[in-house]
């Protein structure tokens, strides 16, 4: 199967796009990356995802598939001879799916709220992120079973889902000048963050913090910061 059969519509700055790219790296699959321009959605994107008009969208032999975690599962199932992304046991799979949904429905939105709040609302948002990290710490101990990653010995589905939010975490800590993650309180998670970012499948894909800060400045809704 040639590289041109597999295209990924996305953006270097998008946590959701990065999830898919990590999955392709794990499977050692080549693909063509089609970079979307901020503020101007391409015709291909609008045609490929008419329901949500969002990236990432995978085009496999021309067939479009949106939604990052659904794409990651699809990659795991299609390229089944490569290392597994989801665990084998159905209960472990259910757990990772549960926590990945928590990341997307609770953790990531609470993190993003920090960008657009100030004063008392910011303080409340920071507290909410702290609570979320406590929950994810529990999830880590539940899923990792003493290993380096949520997925065990290797980067897996939940590592990918959660790990791709790290660029936001680091950028926001610098932007608001407040610690959002307490590595003293959560040493296992802190270690996991390093392990994740330096993993061969991930290296170079998590946006560099200062570059991401410049990108975040282009997004609307943020109050003026000193």
């Amino acid at each position: 199967m040639g590289k041109s059969d597999i295209k990924l519509i996305g953006s270097w700055a998008s946590a959701f796009t990065t999830r898919v790219r990590i999955a392709f790296n794990i499977k050692n699959v080549e693909y063509e990356h089609l970079e979307e321009v901020l503020g101007k959605k391409s015709d291909l994107l609008l045609q490929s995802n008419p329901v949500h008009k969002k990236f990432p969208v995978l085009l496999h032999d021309g067939k479009p598939l949106p939604e990052s975690l659904i794409i990651v599962q699809y990659i795991d199932e299609v390229w089944s001879s490569g290392p597994s992304i989801l665990p084998a046991d159905p209960l472990d799979r259910a757990l990772e799916r549960f926590w990945a949904a928590y990341v997307d429905e609770k953790f990531f939105p609470s993190l993003k709220l920090v960008r657009v709040t100030q004063g008392e609302q910011l303080a409340a948002a920071v507290e909410a992120v702290g609570k979320s990290f406590e929950v994810m710490d529990g999830a880590f101990h539940q899923c990792s079973k003493g290993n380096a990653f949520f997925g065990g010995e290797r980067v897996g589905y939940l590592d990918i889902a959660f790990g791709c939010t790290l660029a936001w975490l680091r950028a926001l800590e610098k932007i608001v000048g407040v610690k959002l993650f307490d590595e003293v309180k959560h040493p296992a998670l802190a270690k996991w963050m390093d392990s994740f970012c330096s993993d061969p499948a991930v290296e170079g894909l998590i946006p560099e913090t200062d570059r991401f800060i410049e990108f975040l400045k282009l997004l609307p809704g943020a109050p003026p910061r000193h």
Binding site: L65, P66, E67, I70, Y74, E77, V78, P90, R97, F98
Partner: protein, 242 residues
């Protein structure tokens, strides 16, 4: 090759002994999310024990096994909890592959998952119609109609069900549109799913409710009306007190 056969035999023996193990479902009779799991289990012919939860007085069992959201449904398989209705359904599908609810083809399976996610992302709008008023309710009504429009135009083809000729996971995910939406419409006094505006959805609802497992496993319409009407009155009066 021999060791692979041995491994597969071992796995299938231990999985089948686990599959015979205790299966309990913590649910709540008016909840459409509860019914998603009931429908999946009954379609596959899997026996289970149903435990009715009083959501105004949550049991220690529920709080222990659903610590993050404290919500039903929870499936307990040999004591191990699985939470979130569609995650439970994926688990059931993987453990009991008979009467498959997801397509065999990976791409079609991924598309089914897309619509399951769409259902979970958009269906809350109809419940906001139910429990709000004023501008918030107006927006929720627009969002609900938009959801129905997308389903009508993009999700439902010309086949009987979302996946084809047989009922599947996407039908189950959208199931509350077939019954609970009507209850909400009656209570609030609006019509959001007009039959002539949504002919495909209208036909799907009829087909869906004719499936014996669905037909025989729906809460009593009148009891639901009474329950949800009373609850809505309490919700709206308590929000006005604030």
């Amino acid at each position: 090759m021999t060791s692979l056969v041995e491994l597969l035999t071992y796995l299938s023996v231990s999985l089948s002994s686990l599959s015979m193990a205790e299966l309990k479902l913590l649910g709540s009779w008016p909840s459409p999310f509860s019914y998603r799991v009931i429908w999946a289990l009954k379609l596959k012919g899997i026996p289970y024990e149903y435990i009715e939860e009083d959501l105004s007085n949550k049991s220690p069992l529920l709080l222990q096994h659903s610590p993050v959201y404290k919500k039903i449904p929870v499936l307990l398989h040999a004591g191990k909890p699985i939470c979130e209705s569609m995650i439970i359904l994926e688990y059931i599908e993987e453990f009991w592959p008979q009467i498959p609810l997801l397509p065999f083809d990976p791409f079609q399976r991924a598309i089914a998952r897309f619509w399951v996610k769409f259902a979970d992302d958009k269906i809350p709008a109809m419940w906001i119609v139910y429990r709000s008023s004023g501008k918030e309710q107006e927006k929720a009504m627009k969002d609900t109609v938009e959801m129905l429009r997308v389903i009508e135009e993009h999700a439902l083809g010309s086949k009987k069900f979302f996946g084809g000729e047989e009922i599947g996971m996407v039908d189950i995910a959208f199931g509350q549109i077939a019954e609970w939406l009507g209850v909400i419409e009656e209570i609030v006094g609006v019509k959001l799913l007009e039959d002539h505006t949504f002919p495909r959805l209208h036909a799907w609802i009829l087909n869906f409710k004719e499936v014996p497992v669905i037909r025989d496993n729906l809460p009593d319409h009148h009891e639901m009306f009474v329950f949800f009407k009373r609850r809505r009155e309490l919700l709206l009066s308590s929000s006005q007190d604030q």
